[in-house]
Symmetry: C2
Subunit: 134 residues, 2 copies
DNA sequence: TATAATGATACTATTATTATATCATTTTAC
DNA sequence: GTAAAATGATATAATAATAGTATCATTATA
């Protein structure tokens, strides 16, 4: 099971790669050469990151992408949310049919606790902290 | 994203249901009537739990399934392991191609920490504790 | 010995993820 | 002005994992 999808994972790499080189602007082609992420896939996630406010883009001939904000302000949680939505490890498979009281289901509450922990980790991790190796 | 698959989830229900009624023996048909888990699917997971040592089975005319051990000794981690294998939230998508040092990859180590937490929760939860609601 | 149970296993369906392909639009170098 | 080089938008295909079904063999006993 993968906690992070490839979209998320690739995107983190892109962000880290960009952040490591200051405030440079990058074309999809350049990023492809450096990171070897499948090209059309890379383009799509760049566009999504642009829409999602993680990147800025310039169109046209000398266009490209750059970070929309400082690496220390970009949280892993933002990336996960963009590509995977709000983390939900906890979906009840039974919708009332079996479990009489979802709120107090002990199984759910364990999973909820794991989810909370994961979200806390994601919130506490920034692109900058990843670059610094902690 | 589901941290527990249906196989795991259904199986926990089966185990809890059985545990709530002492050491009774159950046929697949009885469990179906009580839990409404899709019949062929239910039969398959019962057989897997038998092979995996969580249940005992008796074949033949008055056969059926029963718990192989006391509810306080059956851990959620056992069920997860049986159906989902060793929890691995952490698979590296890049196999050496990009990340120079997997061991010290800060992204992986965050995820590893979440995985460790999850496993700890699973190890600390038993069928009995679920029945008791904690 | 017919019946009612599990054992084994092959198969299908559904869904989510991953990846590709195309064409439209924008900007600028010339 | 216009060709070129970039992103924007979006439809589609491929793959893999999960979920669910179906069938026949084997076993034990009423
Ligand atoms: S099973 Fe749905 S919440 Fe307990
Ligand atoms: S990416 Fe493979 S481990 Fe860091």
């Amino acid at each position: 099971m993968k906690l992070l999808t490839r979209e998320t994972d690739y995107s983190v790499r892109v962000l880290c790669h960009m952040a490591a080189k200051g405030n440079k602007q990058w074309t999809a082609a350049e990023l492809y050469l450096d990171l070897r992420i499948p090209r059309p896939f890379l383009r799509r996630i760049l566009q999504m990151m642009n829409k999602g406010g993680l990147l800025e883009s310039r169109k046209g001939r000398s266009g490209g992408f750059r970070l929309a904000s400082a690496p220390r302000t970009i949280k892993l949680a933002d990336v996960v949310r963009l590509f995977q939505g709000e983390l939900r490890l906890n979906e009840c498979l039974f919708k009332k049919r079996i479990c009489p009281d979802r709120k107090h289901c002990p199984l759910r509450s364990k999973i909820q606790s794991i989810e909370d922990y994961a979200v806390k980790q994601f919130e506490g991790t920034t692109i900058q902290s990843l670059l610094q190796g902690n």
